[in-house]
Point group: C2
Chain length 265, copies 2
């Protein structure tokens, strides 16, 4: 089978917040869709896309306490509203990808899986494997799922992407963010912050990873890296790259390494 | 556990075709959403909704040959476009239900199951059971699914509704259409056509069921009845009712029988 890449499109890259309301960043999104389409035509790979929800998820999730352990009743009230908001974003993301000629189909995580204690308890990948065999690009996303202990819980795209990579035996995971990689401190606060070129099991503990500045109900950069290190331990490499500079994503999809921060064993 | 009802909202009831384009029938949809909400407040039942796609599905499905056995490449091109069109409808249906205060969440069939030779080969209901335990209303729909022999195939809502009824051990299935039940001939063509009050295994063969007038890529009324008779054989009764006359759906959800055509063993 052709090699498989998992691409995470960061919520911060494809959305923006304007006057407290969630908006899609059409310009970034359509440019990135174009880069994916170009790479897909040139390269020989299958692809799963997982996108973050940005404010489409964070605003309702915070409102209904899905990011903390409030009582189940409030969380349950937040389930329909939060999913609906995120699905609206997903529909626009898939549309942008289809416009560039990509064979992209929405993939609703909350229809496929459930969580327990914040981890995936059940999430079969059988249907996704079948879609990939047809060279369809499933477009999944950070979503609200049934959570066995709390009723409803958040499945972060940063957790779903490595999960799928492992289960689907991906070659590589590419994570796009609004900064050009992982920094030792927050580059938006400290202009002298430098990109960490490689994170591995040996240097991981000595690195002080800067946290994301934006509201993130899903754990920010530290959470991302922990999942990717776990994945690296199983032999699947990933790279966190910046998606605001044109051309980077395309190069990464076509196999170029060292564009951002590589996470390996 | 509280009894479970499966409600099929007919594509012909919630959509319309205007100048060859698919449109939602907002007026009907919001009235029906209101009736469901009233019944849900008064009655004690859990609910799964399955809606048809109407022209949101039929138009692209016909265009790409998903309704017949054309070559796989064309069908595959139709998969993303057709699903996207149907999901757009689903988003609006869920929104209308949420507006009436219902705990409704989209449920994407193509993320959960696959077909083989036109039948469901794989479609676990584990996640749906969990949603129902939280008294969430999953809103599924007729969709395009991976089909093992042909690449892509149509899962009709009229097939999905009885499938879910059986797997989830529903008490009853309510099927809404744009005519007040099942007729011996097409009521839109023959004004003297009479409603059949009951269809069972004894009278089924002697009844000449009128076919639906509208474009229906999923088999029309005969296909519906065959599935419901099969379900009746397993002890789950259903009733086909008209949804254009106000109040009928609400009464049916609250347990009234004999409003349209009952299908029983």
């Amino acid at each position: 089978m052709t090699r498989l890449l998992i691409l995470k499109l960061g919520g911060s890259v494809i959305t923006k917040k304007s006057e407290g309301k969630a908006e899609i960043d059409h310009k970034n999104l359509s440019r990135l869709a174009g880069e994916i389409a170009e790479a897909k035509r040139k390269g020989n790979f299958r692809l799963v896309i997982v996108h973050g929800a940005g404010p489409f998820g964070h605003i309702p999730a915070k409102k209904y306490g899905l990011d903390r352990k409030v009582n189940t009743k409030t969380r349950l009230m937040g389930f329909p509203v939060t999913h609906q908001s995120i699905e609206r974003l997903n529909l626009m993301v898939v549309e942008a990808l289809q416009k560039e000629g990509l064979n992209a189909v929405a993939y609703q995580p909350s229809a496929a899986g459930i969580l327990k204690d914040g981890r995936i308890k059940y999430f079969p990948v059988y249907v996704m494997e079948k879609l990939l065999r047809l060279d369809i690009i499933p477009v999944a996303y950070g979503d609200v799922l049934v959570e066995e202990s709390l009723g409803a819980g958040i499945l972060s795209g940063d957790y779903l992407a490595p999960y799928l990579a492992e289960r689907l035996k991906a070659e590589r995971v590419i994570i796009t963010t609004d900064v050009p990689g992982i920094f030792a401190s927050d580059p938006k606060r400290n202009r002298k912050a430098g990109i960490i070129r490689e994170i591995n099991s040996r240097n991981a503990c000595s690195i002080n990873i800067g946290n994301s500045t934006a509201t993130d109900v899903t754990g920010g950069m530290k959470g991302k890296v922990m999942e990717l290190l776990r994945l690296a331990g199983k032999g699947i490499e990933s790279e966190v790259i910046g998606a605001l500079e044109p051309g980077i994503l395309k190069m990464s999809l076509l196999g170029k390494r060292g564009l951002g921060t590589i996470i390996k064993k």
